[in-house]
Symmetry: C2
Subunit: 135 residues, 2 copies
DNA sequence: AACACTGTGTAATAATATAACATTAATATA
DNA sequence: TATATTAATGTTATATTATTACACAGTGTT
């Protein structure tokens, strides 16, 4: 029930591009995606960007804004791309989606002094991953 | 004493570009900056990007990653671009730097389950500003 | 002087993203 | 079923954002 929003049938292009991103161990960039799916008949940047836009919109993937790259969502608690948090290693560029009930609760309830209420946020943490930290 | 890190003498190009950003009511994009400083002898994108990079590095400006735009820092508590938070109106695109001791304390101390410690973060909230919300 | 370091100027190019238009597929609803 | 509507596709061209490469100038140090 809780993940119902993600059970949408993808179109052909969306499925091809999602599969590629989903099986990638690292975030993928649009033109790298384009290069990889040309053998499947997707020839133009716009075809990639349209699929990416839709996949982001429905929460199947997220955009890592500081890297202009896309990662599949493996976090059942992140509702349709409305609340995202990532850790990014500044050496090896490994990106991990953060799944913390405390963090999302804190941010979802955060109100600034103007009383502006937010419908969405994106948080990117930077540092060294465990591996890179011990070298 | 607390803002010592920002008291650096800017070079000519850095000063020109900082002044432009600092007096702008909205985030500026690199090529819009370029257009605006051509009368001052800055002719090429690279001259703009070099100044922007340095200004970001020393914390005089911040990059709004989701908008590829730059805003001057007016927040004495944000130490050299290591910890930034913004609110962004999805209608009028107004951007405000958030200055909340509670938020920065929470995020600075946040540790994920891997125990990865972060040296830096960037947070962007999206919603409607007061003005746009009441229309 | 020799060196390192930082910044500048210029040209060329790479990388990221969108506009415009024609067509086709899927869905709704009358 | 017909038809209207919406969503997705294919293609070309173009706009926007950012970097590479190279030559040179200023400043401080040894
Ligand atoms: Zn997610
Ligand atoms: Zn790493
Ligand atoms: Zn700031
Ligand atoms: Zn607004």
């Amino acid at each position: 029930m809780s993940k119902m929003h993600k059970e949408r049938t993808l179109t052909k292009n969306q499925q091809i591009i999602f599969d590629l991103i989903d099986k990638s161990p690292e975030p993928l960039k649009a033109y790298s995606i384009l290069f990889n799916v040309q053998k499947k008949g997707i020839n133009a940047p716009l075809q990639v960007y349209r699929a990416l836009d839709k996949l982001v919109e429905i929460g199947k993937i997220h955009k890592i804004e500081s890297r202009n790259a896309f990662i599949a969502c493996h976090n059942s608690s992140c509702q349709v791309a409305k609340a995202t948090a990532f850790s990014i290693c500044e050496i090896c560029e490994k990106v991990t989606e953060i799944s913390s009930a405390g963090l999302s609760k804190y941010l979802a309830n955060f109100k600034d002094k103007d009383g502006m209420k937010y419908s969405k946020y994106n948080l990117e943490f930077f540092g060294l991953c465990k591996k890179c930290n011990t070298r």
